[in-house]
């Protein structure tokens, strides 16, 4: 079966059956209004009878239009990217464009490989989740001749167009929020150690230092990918190290959920004994007990805007956006898991 090449039906077969030339058959499919109703009908019938599927490869090669936009995300696992990809599809599909998404697994080397492969397929645009491309990747992208959109985060030096928000500011704001609640011993957990979470942590560090606090004793980090279980374990580790912990900011919601479970396991009241705030505001944050505070990130909107810009450039007027850097911001979502510094904690701290 792997050696028999049954010679897929081609446009020529369809044309022959319909009794027209290949060009006409092509037009009947691609621009039906250019072909008389009679022939169009015959071609359509032939297509159906032969179960003809156009060879996109040949079509793309001849027309120099692939109808494909390349998308690189660092993870498919992460709930963050499902909203992101959904937005992309919502915009691209109705416009007849196909998103080709590949996963870089948070590895610059894989990203480079992926982009190189994708570029070979001649996408009409490239949408990247992230701003941290390697130098070689950047060069490829700069010379590929199609729009490149970097998302998820802001950069001062975009390859082409940039849509996002400041991860650092968001991390800062989350920490600041806990500080404003009166907390001082604020822990921070981060996993994976990708550049984006690193910048969130920088925000945490800056807020702490500005408040005259030393973040070191309350910090836990690991290169392992974040999971709920890891959140629980790392929280336990900080707790062992810094008993007087009053609040916790985690780099994402999975870690926050893990910490919350660990609190339940140990009988630590949330937010009575400990306030918790996560990051991303995934769906479960609103439904947990207590509901988790988090930092809402505009991931659907970032992707929607990115796809919209692509559409305008490749299918619309060709007009590029007025500005090549769009800040979509973020917001702190206050829920039951965070509260003011409790009397008990105040007493313990002195």
């Amino acid at each position: 079966m792997s050696e028999t090449r049954p010679k897929r039906t081609t446009l020529a077969d369809v044309a022959a059956l319909a009794g027209v030339s290949a060009v006409t058959a092509s037009r009947a499919l691609r621009r039906p209004e250019m072909v008389s109703a009679d022939l169009r009908q015959r071609v359509e019938t032939a297509v159906r009878d032969l179960a003809y599927i156009p060879n996109q490869l040949a079509s793309a090669l001849a027309s120099a239009r692939t109808g494909m936009v390349a998308v690189v995300v660092p993870s498919l696992t992460n709930g963050v990217f499902s909203d992101y990809l959904r937005a992309l599809h919502d915009v691209l599909i109705p416009a007849g464009l196909q998103a080709m998404v590949v996963n870089s697994r948070y590895l610059p080397s894989e990203e480079e490989r992926a982009i190189s492969t994708l570029l070979g397929q001649h996408p009409e645009a490239v949408i990247l989740a992230g701003i941290d491309q390697s130098g070689r990747t950047r060069r490829l992208l700069e010379h590929c001749g199609v729009p490149v959109i970097q998302t998820m985060e802001l950069t001062d030096d975009p390859i082409d167009i940039n849509i996002g928000f400041s991860q650092r500011d968001a991390g800062y704001a989350a920490t600041r929020y806990l500080l404003d609640l009166g907390h001082r011993r604020i822990g921070h957990i981060r996993a994976r150690l990708d550049p984006r979470s690193r910048r969130r942590s920088e925000g945490y560090r800056r807020a702490m230092e500005e408040a005259g606090l030393d973040p070191t004793p309350y910090l836990a980090e690991t290169p392992r990918p974040s999971t709920v279980g890891l959140g629980a374990a790392m929280f336990a580790e900080i707790l062992a190290r810094a008993p007087g912990l009053e609040a916790l900011f985690t780099c994402n919601d999975d870690l926050a959920l893990g910490a919350l479970f660990e609190c339940q396991r140990r009988g630590i009241a949330v937010p009575g004994d400990l306030s918790i705030i996560g990051f991303n505001d995934l769906e479960f944050c609103a439904s947990s007990f207590p509901a988790l505070s988090s930092v809402a990130t505009p991931r659907y909107e970032m992707a929607r805007r990115a796809a919209g810009i692509v559409l305008e450039i490749v299918r619309g007027s060709g007009a590029r956006p007025a500005t090549n850097r769009i800040d979509l911001g973020f917001s702190i979502i206050q829920r039951a898991s965070t509260g003011p510094r409790a009397a008990a904690a105040v007493r313990a701290v002195g």
Copy 2:
């Protein structure tokens, strides 16, 4: 920018710069061992200097090899498919194959569209998550001339090759497990209503009926996609309807987690007052409080095997597996969220 066609560098440019013919340049890249060290060197230098990226379209068209395998999954959101896709990548990438994954969103119409598009790109194999293809889709797949692997579930009538486990048996086993624990008023929540979850529910229904129990009063279902919040809401709904509930089997872990949170919110002890078992055994089940029992499904293994078979057929000996239907089974993972029927509940039921 959209109108300027800067004429990407082609193999001919590379060949010219290296002072060789296009064929030699092609060979230097594709089968280096066929070219003398000297010329190979010159070609490689030219490639680097020109930042040449081969046009995969042209390459695929000429060689009839795309190096791509088409993958259709119904969801990217669902934690289930991240393990699945990871396995696919783990096997395919090192073999030089690229997985092109598209999301059918649990819609047969989208699946048909997606497969039609994918087939136009001439994949070397097709891997499907699910067995419920529409008639037209089936016909396309049967005539496409490449291996087709249906996964996630077993069918008596595979298109080509089938790897999975019985969703119905798994649903039956989960319910049976609760029955064996002594529970009688066993609730069941299911969302999305896709064929796979329907068969899990059929297993539940059969187990209940075999035990002489009427499942109707304890059943809640909705076509909406399942979320943690939905799990909580639907659980609350059953509770209002059937106060004496002793146990709950949910169609997936997200719903189970929602139900667990709802129990915490209402002060219902788990498993003291209510046993809960989910489905899929996602990572968080082991870390929640109490840890959630679940049905572990071999999703990594299914994908790994599927990819392995693809590899063997398209890059290996071309040998197809001895059997075209592989059952990978499932297992009940017992954790803290399930326990025997409590004395209190026994009393209440009478």
